[in-house]
């Protein structure tokens, strides 16, 4: 596909190379450029981190080279000179490296990462131009260019006898790599040389793509078992070998909607009373078959929204590297269960809290190498990210083998900040939970990365928004583990379908503590207005759903109705409904923007008979009734 689009670009470009390049402002080409470059930069970062571990990994060097090379080609084509120049300099360095004339050092990787960040900034700056049509001035890159150049010149001279270091002869596939340094970009040069440059770039790009395709094919043909290759290589093969297409998320959502409708229609047919006549075994069999298939289709449709959590984990790899170098600590990051799949939206919303927790671990959890040596630990610390399934949930675990949480210090700080009274007797778990309190931070010094006082409370808020929970386990001197428990998907919840009058509502099951039919003498009133129910020895406020929603109920007396004991912001209360109808997994639908902020309603869901039921937001319900 990309090959095709390159060709069309050349065809239309050939006639218009003259003075101003009209293609440079073409929003479609530009957005393609941004999208493709971003993808390349992402894979470049991954490969760089691999290279950081094994500086001689030729595969990784090649992959990074190809990435920058493609970006350079596209940028040159679109007159993105700043991007092109940086990509070009990096490419020169990488070219030296892959010809064995330059050894990859952490300093080089740092610079390349920096360049990658620079390119990302350029791309971000370009984005608004898509709408306005005004191309922005790219960020200053002179210092960066010089820094990259100096990397190449110094060690190249010292390192090896490789005589003609000056004119590196690149492989025939990329004629342009050699041509560009000799012909610095001059906008005023005649059309001919410009044409030559464009053509050579396109040729190089096509060649690079051919090269890129090749490794994907190789393992298939050779028939070698993939797991025989070492880690990073297998990774690279998987990345390029995974056949995938891009689909608009709106289309996907529509498919999921339609499949949901199909399941409903199928179940309506299946339970049609006219079909429940004896002696229709074949019909029954066929219907069951249909049910199985629709079930399977639904599961497949839902799974399309899922992406592996590995992408998220890999983002932290860069963070750990940068942080540990900055702080002078040695940290190994280990990832497990990267293939565990999570809803796309959850993965996106999880990025910030995860980064924050990893930051916390490296910054506060892990000691300096000297301190570690004193306490008999290996000087290189270990941060582990682990994802897996557990009882219908996804559990993500962030562990470090650092100093652990200091209970006494947390308690002292909490008392200082008047979060707890000095006499309070707290359990270990309660003390650890204090770190999730707004404005709490144990770092004595404020560092660049964390310790600004905003931290774990934001993490917890994020996680709760995703309907998950977070726990801490910590042993002094042995490390800290954060446990995140998240739902598989945001799109579906387990709900109790309850009835009030003629209406049906869905109560999210995670909010339900218990359900009961209260005895008459357990109901009391406060000042004749506020009702309370005695449940297991504690008095809980009673909220009548029919009153809140203005529905005529079937039962006016609490002892005839059903009470749902629920918790909202740490306080329990009882919700009064007529009856429990059943339990159902429902797909959450928005009611649209005009009905977005109704107190007590979280959304809508399609019930088994195709009608809409409202999903209750218990926190909102209780909050609103409290406000009265």
């Amino acid at each position: 596909m990309p090959l095709e689009s390159e060709k069309t670009k050349t065809a239309s470009g050939a006639g218009s190379i003259a003075a101003v390049n009209p293609l440079a402002a073409d929003p479609e080409l530009l957005s393609d450029f941004i999208l493709e470059s971003r993808e390349h930069l992402t894979s470049i970062e991954l490969q760089l981190l691999t290279l950081d571990q094994e500086p001689t990994n030729a595969e990784a060097i090649h992959a990074i080279f190809r990435g920058f090379h493609t970006i350079k080609g596209m940028a040159g084509f679109l007159d993105q000179d700043a991007v092109r120049d940086v990509a070009h300099e990096v490419e020169t360095i990488l070219d030296l490296a892959r010809n064995g004339q330059l050894a990859i050092t952490p300093a080089i990787i740092d610079k390349i990462l920096e360049s990658k960040d620079y390119l990302n900034r350029c791309l971000a700056g370009l984005e608004p131009a898509l709408e306005s049509g005004n191309l922005p001035v790219p960020p200053d890159n002179i210092a960066l260019l010089a820094a990259i150049r100096s990397l190449g010149s110094n060690p190249a001279g010292e390192t090896q006898p490789a005589g003609p270091a000056g004119d590196v002869s690149p492989p025939a596939l990329e004629p342009e790599a050699a041509a560009a340094p000799q012909a610095p970009p001059e906008p005023a040069t005649a059309g001919l040389s410009e044409l030559a440059r464009v053509v050579s770039q396109v040729v190089a790009q096509v060649a690079a793509q051919v090269v890129a395709e090749a490794p994907a094919e190789a393992p298939v043909e050779s028939g070698l078992p993939a797991d025989s290759a070492e880690g990073p290589r297998a990774n690279a093969a998987r990345a390029s070998g995974a056949r995938s297409i891009k689909v608009d998320t709106a289309k996907l959502d529509y498919l999921v909607d339609m499949v949901g409708e199909m399941v409903i229609a199928q179940s309506l047919v299946h339970h049609d009373p006219d079909l429940a006549i004896n002696g229709k075994a074949r019909l029954g069999r066929n219907l069951s078959q249909l049910a199985r298939i629709t079930d399977e289709v639904q599961r497949t449709a839902m799974s399309m929204r899922m992406i592996p959590v590995g992408q998220l984990f890999q983002k932290t790899a860069r963070l750990v590297r940068d942080l540990s170098r900055k702080a002078g600590k040695q940290v190994d990051l280990e990832l497990f269960g990267e293939e565990t799949e999570l809803d796309r939206n959850i993965v996106e919303d999880l990025a910030d809290p995860l980064m924050h927790m990893v930051r916390n671990s490296v910054d506060h959890g892990i000691e300096m190498p000297a301190v570690r040596a004193q306490s008999g630990k290996p000087s290189t610390a270990r941060v582990t990210l682990r994802a897996g399934h557990q009882a219908g949930h996804i559990v993500i675990q962030i562990s470090d083998d650092g100093r652990g949480l200091d209970q006494a210090k947390i308690l002292r700080k909490a008392v200082e900040k008047r979060l707890v009274s000095p006499e309070a007797q707290l359990s270990e778990g309660e003390i650890f939970n204090l770190i999730f309190h707004p404005g709490f931070s144990t770092a004595d010094q404020i560092t660049d990365v964390s310790g600004r006082g905003v931290g774990m409370d934001v993490v917890r808020k994020h996680v709760q928004k995703l309907r998950g929970r977070i726990d801490v386990i910590s042993r002094p001197g042995q490390g800290t583990t954060f446990l995140l428990k998240l739902p598989l998907t945001l799109a579906i919840i387990d709900g109790l379908v309850v009835g009030v009058g003629g209406q049906r509502y869905i109560v999210p099951i995670f909010a339900v503590r218990e359900m009961l039919k209260p005895p008459e003498d357990s109901i009391s009133t406060l000042q004749g207005r506020q009702e309370m129910a005695m449940v297991r020895g504690s008095l809980l406020p009673l909220v009548r759903l029919h009153q809140r929603f203005g529905v005529k109920p079937r039962f006016e007396n609490p002892w005839e109705s059903l009470l749902i004991v629920s918790e909202s912001r740490g306080k329990q209360f009882c919700l009064m409904v007529d009856e429990l109808i059943g339990k159902q997994e429902v797909v959450i639908k928005s009611l649209g923007e005009t009905m977005a902020n109704i107190a007590g309603v979280a959304g809508g869901a399609i019930l088994g008979d195709g009608r809409v039921g409202l999903i209750l937001d218990l926190e909102g319900l209780f909050g609103a009734s409290n406000g009265e």
């Binding site: 529509y254 909607d257 339609m258 949901g260 409708e261 209406q503 809140r548 929603f549 203005g550 529905v551 639908k589 928005s590 009611l591 649209g592 923007e593 005009t594 009905m595 977005a596 902020n597 109704i598 107190a599 007590g600 309603v601 809508g604 399609i606 195709g610 009608r611 809409v612 039921g613 409202l614």
Partner: protein
Amino acid sequence: MATIGQSTPASQKVDRRTGKYLTFALGNEEFAIQVLGVREIMGIQEITAVPQMPAYVKGVLNLRGKVIPIVDLRLKFDLPELEYTQRTCIVVVQINGPSGKLQIGIIVDGVSEVLTLQAADIEDTPDFGNGVQLAYILGMAKIKNKVKILLDINMVLNAQEVQSLDGIAG
């Protein structure tokens, strides 16, 4: 592509009121809305009530997996509420909401026909002289001695509608 894009608004400026209309009844009056905005017409169905909404918002409905709000046009126009019958219809229209297109169902007494209206058929709304704001009425059409009121359904449901809904929600 570009030329088509330019010509459409130009011709609309001449008289954007001409074109095909779907006519429906509310009480004794006949109304018409532009067919372009109509997505589908269906019989009355069971609607799920939503709390804290104005009376004319009857609730929400499942339209092939999408939850759409339903407005009773009678109540919206302050006409007396009527029991729904076999003839009662829900017309699903697409309007421009504050952030993108959205579909809304409107309940009408019954759908009549689709008419093609020429510029000559359409008259401007008469000035009632009492400061009545009728921004949502595009004009009047006289067809076979019956007056059809041309509605700008976007204005009917959107401008005042969304504001009032927001006020309630906030």
